[in-house]
Amino acid sequence: MVRLKNRYFLCKVIFPSPDESNEMLTSQEFRRAIEKAARKSLGSSDLALWATGYEMHINSGSSIFDSYLLVGKVIKVNSHSKTAIVRVQHRATRMLSQLLPFIKQHQKTDVIIQTLHVTGTVATCQKALIKYERRTLLELLRNTTNKDHRKKIQEALLSCTLDLQGQKIASDNDNDGFT
């Protein structure tokens, strides 16, 4: 049995425009942005790497084309911290890593996509994401001067920490921003 391997890209989406805070990141829109850049820059064989591969849709007529254009899965998007996890097949690693710098727009706003990490499993990708978020939260906490912002960051940190007895200190926020 041949092992079916995937690669998970942890991406950070940076909106360089001054009204950064207003931009919302959704998985559908992010997928469309990647697909648009892929259609522009890639040839047929590279586009085919986007296919969901082992999810075969050969028998249904027109949907062969549709399935090939289905961008190979944006798994998770955190619209607050502007991070996304994208899954591709192992053989498409190089193709996606070289496509991401050419993505210029997301929903008609200019965008820079930074690859933070490439991993082989979702679990390690999520670990990398947690490490990155923790570091950015700590940096934010160190550098904010506004008291309200500082309080919000402290609450965010406390909501995911345990006390010495192993019990949660603060209540979880239902909406963590993951879609």
Binding site: I14, P16, P18, K40, R94, S97, Q98, L100, P101, F102, K104, D110, V111, I112, I113, Q114, T115, E139, R142, N143
Partner: protein, 283 residues
Amino acid sequence: MVKFHDLNIARVKDAVAQKHTLRIACRLGYEVVAVTTVLKNGNELTAAPPPIELQLTKEEQQNFQQLSRITVVLSDKTNNSYLGNDKIKSYDILAVQPTTEKSFQVACSELNVDLITFDFSTWLGFHLKHQYVQTALRLGKYFEFTYGPAIRDTTCRRYVFQNTTDFVQRKEGQNTIISSGAEWPTDLRAPYDVANLAILFGMKEGQAKSSLTSTPRALLLKAATRRLTVKSSITIGHVTSIPEKDKWKIEGSKPPSTDAGKRQNTDDHDEPKKKKSKKLKSN
């Protein structure tokens, strides 16, 4: 630690846009950045502009370094005598952009220059002769590609790939650096993404990363020797610029001794004296 360099951020008249570009560069992970002034006419030469004040955090301020760079566009008719000028010495990096084969030959062999850039967004107009490239490499000069045009425009992208792969294939990217040439923050890309682009241009993985880290660092050291030293062997500086701990060298006094040294010294002084007296008595 490895520092990422972006040695070509275009100088823009809009100060707000310039600040924004530099802030985004800092955020993406670049630690050394050079703001480029392009000089087409020798009469327009001005001294280097001061570094732009950015509202950075303490950690970022410690790591982020802003340099100044001048790119002189060469053609067959330009008079290059002003390249040793004091105003040019005020810039940290001196780069030259040849537009003809003759100017490329002069840039590689005769001119005392750190960096040779090309405008790869269109057909160069001349072939990069292997002979001249070899001369430049022997003299320790560096070459540069910018990836900005490839991202900005799809028509330029074709030319950029064509020209860069042509150059890289000859020498596998030896002594080459990659930079953004960014006029707007949207032209910038994160360092590891730029390394992936460099692999597209034909470089190997190790070569791609070093074109952002170790090669620009070597270039900066070379630029420093051109600016500050005489024939790369002697530096001349003012007496006031010497740090306190080295001032004893000028004053002709002994090097300052530390506390630990003093205790050791007293013991040492006692023992040899005793030994000497003993020898005398025996005689």
